[in-house]
């Protein structure tokens, strides 16, 4: 009969399961070839038009609030990279409302694994990888043009702050998606959170003091690109907040996870 000792499921286990699901998912997506080609083309087009509008907007200004063109480009590349994890790994948040509303969400309770993990593992959005390539290209180009010396420390800092920024973006999206456990029209909340990330590309100094406060403390999108980029771009005038941002990133991610799981615990399902 079934053994009574519970089996241990650690990080290695979860990574293994994730890899299995993602490989299968990508394999099956590639088997629908035209789908795959169309979405790849669409992804490239989105990134190119995004870049063109950025270029049209900023090439004529030598500087905005003291930020030069290549510095802006650096921010742009930085934000593209930091938005990749949320796009690739947490895209299923967009379907959460539908799943919760229809009652299909109960199926995630029936496996002996973490529900948040199980739910998010179901979708891996390959399109995000194109955005990653684009972001890296932009960042490297801007870095070279700015003539900032490449040191080991700078690269380590860059990686740490990219992870921080990603965590904050993920946290924002988790929290926004999880509102569907309490309210019906949660789509607007999620959509709003999605739109906010557009502001992440700009230096926070171009906004007025009110928005500066909001984007720092309430909806912390200034941590997605602005505060972390200062470490590389303006090493002389780094605010304390920048050094705190990895901690803030972890805290926000932790809170959003707790909030998501709170929704899971109080979810009642539907009547059928």
């Amino acid at each position: 009969m079934t053994n009574s000792i519970s089996k241990k499921r650690g990080l290695g286990f979860y990574l293994h399961i994730y890899r299995m699901i993602v490989i299968q998912d990508i394999k099956s997506k590639m088997s629908y070839r035209s789908d795959f080609i169309i979405s790849t083309v669409g992804m490239i087009a989105t990134n190119v038009t995004g870049f063109i509008s950025f270029w049209i907007l900023f090439r004529n200004f030598p500087s905005i609030s003291g930020w030069g063109y290549y510095e802006m480009l650096f921010l742009y590349g930085f934000s593209l990279i930091s938005l990749t994890p949320v796009q690739c790994l947490f895209d299923n948040n967009w379907s959460l409302r539908q799943n919760v509303f229809s009652g299909d969400f109960i199926k995630y309770y029936f496996r002996p694994i973490n529900i948040f993990f199980y739910y998010q593992s179901e979708i891996f959005d390959v399109k995000g990888l194109g955005q990653l390539a684009f972001g890296i290209g932009t960042l490297v180009y801007a870095w070279a043009k700015l003539g900032i010396p490449v040191t080991v420390l700078a690269v380590v800092e860059l990686v740490v702050f990219l992870i921080t920024a990603s965590l904050i973006m993920i946290a924002l999206q988790n929290a926004a998606a999880a509102t569907c456990f309490w309210i019906n029209n949660s789509f607007y909340v999620l959509d709003l959170a999605y739109k906010f990330r557009d502001y992440a590309k700009y230096p926070i100094t171009i906004f007025g003091p009110v928005f500066k406060f909001v984007f720092t403390f309430l909806i912390p999108i200034a941590f997605i690109a602005y505060y972390p980029s200062l470490v590389i771009l303006r090493p002389d005038e780094i605010p304390v907040l920048t050094w705190l941002s990895p901690v803030i990133g972890l805290i926000f991610f932790g809170l959003s996870y707790k909030f998501w799981m709170l929704g899971v615990r109080k979810y009642n399902g539907t009547g059928s």
């Binding site: 009969m1 079934t2 519970s6 089996k7 293994h16 399961i17 299995m20 699901i21 299968q24 998912d25 099956s28 997506k29 009652g103 299909d104 109960i106 199926k107 309770y109 029936f110 496996r111 002996p112 694994i113 973490n114 179901e122 979810y267 009642n268 399902g269 009547g271 059928s272």
Partner: protein, 355 residues
């Protein structure tokens, strides 16, 4: 009384209440709803106690909205009971969801749990790793499956390309894959054709026999009950109506006979007319819509008497006399409960709403 550790499931005085917002109409109403505290309490499950020993197949029956799915959701750790004590495999499911999930299998009919885009064999491979099924056990299980139903054509088909029947079959196979102690099946045969139903019944029966799996089965199809369940539990409006052997129930209705008739003319119209003409009997139509059935309690009125009354106003083309069928027993119980409830709820209509 069985010892607790021999029981797969122990429920003591379990209730589940849902708080539902009393919604108002119109735009103004929706705005008011935003701030409303005007909740109504729906009692979906009302003070139910059951003990289920290992290895049993229990038919958990009741009319629509009786509270069957809600009970299963509590047993599987989705919902927390409002009151009462619930142990599944000796643990509280809601507090130990993941641990509980290791030792149970769940199928909610028409709601697949398999990875939509993946071929069945890939889903099985993932499940093998999620449940950490040893290679040999996994291989044996697949061989056992193959000996019961032809799974080979299913294995390489993506779930989303499967028919409803194939998908349900796959979901049931997936639920038993890790050899769980208990499997919950909520309407597994809903929407399936006769041959698929019979395939699924064979499968469940064989797995129960071979692996000793406890099965909790919810269904509206008495064919499932006849094929699989010795014990049935019937609930209605969340309350327990009956919990015993099905044989016992049939004996209880021993004086009942089912008179099956084939009359000329439209069956639906006859059903209505006959219900009015012979109020002391319950009249129905068989599932294949071939026969009109009249359930007669011989203690109240003789079958021959009823038959001759019918012959006076209808042409009887064919007839059969049978012992009471499970279908009829269950319908009788639902109807009797309804009648009592109807009488009771008229009295308490006012008091039933809480703030």
């Amino acid at each position: 009384m069985k010892e607790n550790n021999e029981c797969a499931i122990v429920m003591k005085g379990i209730s589940k209440e849902f708080k539902v917002l009393n919604r108002r109409e119109g735009l103004k109403g929706s705005l008011l709803d935003l701030f409303s505290r005007d909740y109504k309490t729906v009692t979906a499950v009302d003070d139910i106690s059951i003990e289920i020993p290992r290895g049993q197949i229990v038919g958990y029956l009741g009319p629509n909205g009786a509270g069957k799915s809600t009970t299963i959701k509590m047993m599987t750790g989705v919902l927390e009971p409002t009151r009462g004590e619930l142990l599944v495999n000796g643990a509280v499911p809601y507090k130990n969801r993941a641990k509980n999930a290791e030792k149970i299998g769940v199928v909610f009919g028409q709601r697949s749990q398999l990875w939509w885009a993946l071929p069945l064999t890939e889903s099985f491979n993932i499940l093998k790793d999620i449940y950490m099924i040893p290679d040999q056990e996994y291989k044996d299980m697949l061989e056992f499956y193959q000996s019961l139903v032809d799974i080979e054509p299913l294995l390489h088909k993506p779930v989303r390309q499967m028919s409803l029947g194939q998908r349900t079959l796959s979901d049931i196979l997936a639920a038993f894959l890790h050899n769980p102690g208990i499997v919950f099946l909520d309407e597994p045969t809903i929407g399936l054709d006769v041959s698929m139903k019979s395939k699924i019944r064979t499968l469940i029966h064989a797995l129960n026999q071979e692996k000793g799996t406890t099965v909790i089965l919810t269904t509206h199809d008495m064919g499932d009950v006849d094929a699989l369940c010795r014990r049935i539990v019937i609930i209605d409006h969340g309350k327990m109506l009956y919990d015993n052997d099905i044989e016992h129930l049939r004996r209880f209705f021993g004086s009942y006979r089912t008179l099956k008739l084939r009359l000329s003319g439209d069956k639906k119209a006859q059903l209505e007319k006959l219900t009015a003409e012979i109020p002391e009997c319950s009249v129905g139509i068989t599932e294949d819509e071939e026969w009109i059935t009249v359930l007669v309690d011989e203690e109240k009125r003789k079958v021959m008497d009823v038959l001759s009354q019918i012959q006076n106003s209808y042409t009887v083309r064919d007839m059969q006399l049978e012992e009471i069928s499970t279908e009829d027993v269950i319908r009788k119980i639902y109807e009797d409960a309804d009648r009592e409830n109807g009488a009771a709820s008229e009295e308490t209509e006012e008091g039933s709403e809480s703030k």
